[in-house]
Amino acid sequence: MKKNLIERLLPIIASLTWAFLFGIMLILFTEGTPVVRFVSPVRFIFGLHWYPVHDPPEFGILPLILGSLMVTGGAILVALPLGVGCAVYIAELAHPRAREIIKPLTEMLAGVPSIIYGFFGMVFLAPIIRRMFDLPTGLTGGTAAIILGIMALPTVASIAEDSISSVPRHLREASYALGANQWETITRTVIPAARSGILTAVILGIGRAIGETMTVLMVAGGSAVIPHQFFTPVRPMTSTIAAEMGEAPMGGMHYHALFAIGLVLFFITLSLSLVAEWVKER
């Protein structure tokens, strides 16, 4: 009887996931779409100026979208080589004892709270970047991208490592049998065989980076301008919402505009997840 009850409850609990997802989408839609009452969707997405509390306000989020994309793209440029390198080392080269130490350490990197990364970026990395490139300020999209790359590293490394480890042994043996050395086997056989897993890792890493809020709020500088170079202050979508939602009067233009940014962000991450699923199945 008891087992029966629990068995009945489990599908309900499982379906809660759907309920939450559906509820979040519903809220985003009902609170985000009213923005079209003040500004046309085209002017909203392609507008160049974000002055939400000025009189009259301007709600153009192109600088915010491009800020997010630039920071995320930069993060992947950092996370991909480091993550795949890490994965190859752990899966193929490391001595089993070294692997036992390195693998959990990489995973611990994922457990560091993002505010710590933000603090590290603001106090330590930003001054270095400023001096190195002789910039007016070190709080830039590029600085944020480097930090986000380090943050996305564990995601990329662990998924890439799983897919490299699951490359069948006979492929490696065939490669060795043809006279290839270890390096040739890794670069010509193992990595190509694991490429869909590595691609999934990259996409999930992008998802991790584009949704990150605290770090970019602290490190990216926050200027709502179209980024014209890598080390220039930018204002990604997430930090805009985080910084401004607290004071936006409920039900006002600014409030709905922030929800609409959330909606845009949600569609970007949703399509990333769908692409990741599609790649994984192939």
């Binding site: 009850l5 100026h49 002055y51 603001m122 300020t137 301008v225 607290g246």
Partner: protein
């Protein structure tokens, strides 16, 4: 099946009990005080409420944000005993008070003063309000225009949602837009840290956040300090009020008296504002 029914009966009972319990709590009691309004005043009322409730364990004070306008609307609707406001009540609101027979009385509890800061190596000592505005709108973009080095000015601002930005917008920008490439940072601390580490930066922070790591500028010849804000000489500041219906009485009076006491004014300073006593 009977056990299942028992279970659901149990859940329903629990549910009903919580509901009844809640009903009891929300009923208006003489020992409760509700404050609504400005999020700038929020940290003061929050900290003061905690300290006050520790002294008077039977009292229950609820503090909510929402903005100055929301607070005054709540006072008019009598859903709040005290309206926190970071600006004086305006004529429209006074008219609505009259309609409803409310007599809004402002109690000045603190001042919100903003200091303009630069890097310690910067030779500039003072600016006029016009120069400051020109820097933030982008009309002046080099320190050499102000008698400093031939270097671009790194303009650091606060996020548009902050009370600090609001004061700055009202007292300095006066309706103009900040230059688009200004850094927008999320806290007073972040501005102070950034300015202290960026040689050609200018920023603004609450007066309580001044330290030896940054250099505070005189504005129109007046030094930013608690005394100059209180005397009204320093211009980049605004008063913070607690509005009550009529002169404060009962618990509201006790609470406002507490904020005006030595201990209360110490809290005002601790959370970053200028005490008025």
């Amino acid at each position: 099946m009977s056990r299942m029914r028992n279970f659901s009966l149990f859940v329903t009972t629990l549910f009903l009990l919580t509901f009844v319990g809640n009903q009891g709590c929300t009923r208006k009691e003489p020992n409760t005080l509700t404050l609504t309004g400005s999020t700038t005043v929020l940290p003061i009322s929050q900290m003061a409420a905690e300290a006050f409730m520790e002294l008077h364990p039977k009292v229950n004070i609820s503090v909510q944000g929402g903005g100055s306008g929301v607070g005054i609307a709540a006072l008019i609707d009598q859903t709040a005993d005290i309206a926190n406001a970071s600006r004086p009540i305006n004529t429209k609101e006074i008219a609505r008070c009259r309609e409803k027979g409310i007599d809004p009385v402002g109690n000045l509890i603190a001042q919100d003063g903003i200091a303009i800061v630069v890097h310690t190596s910067n030779p500039i000592e003072e600016l006029s309000l016009e120069q400051l505005k020109a820097i933030y709108t982008g009309e002046i973009s080099k320190w050499s225009d102000l008698g400093g080095e031939v270097k671009p000015i790194v303009v650091v601002s606060r996020d548009v949602a902050s009370g600090t930005f609001e004061v700055f917008k009202e007292k300095v920008l006066k309706g103009s837009k900040t230059r688009e490439d200004a850094l927008m940072l999320a806290s007073n601390k972040a501005v102070a840290t950034t300015v202290s580490e960026t040689p050609y930066a200018i920023g603004y922070v609450g007066i309580a956040y001044l330290s030896s790591e940054v250099k505070a500028l005189k504005i129109d010849g007046v030094e930013p300090a608690n005394e100059t804000v209180t005397s009204g000489k320093y211009e980049v500041a605004r008063p913070l009020y607690m509005y009550t219906n009529g002169k404060p009485k009962g618990l509201a009076k006790e609470f406002i008296d507490f904020i005006m006491s030595r201990e209360g004014q110490k809290i005002v300073e601790e959370v970053g504002f200028v005490p008025v006593k």
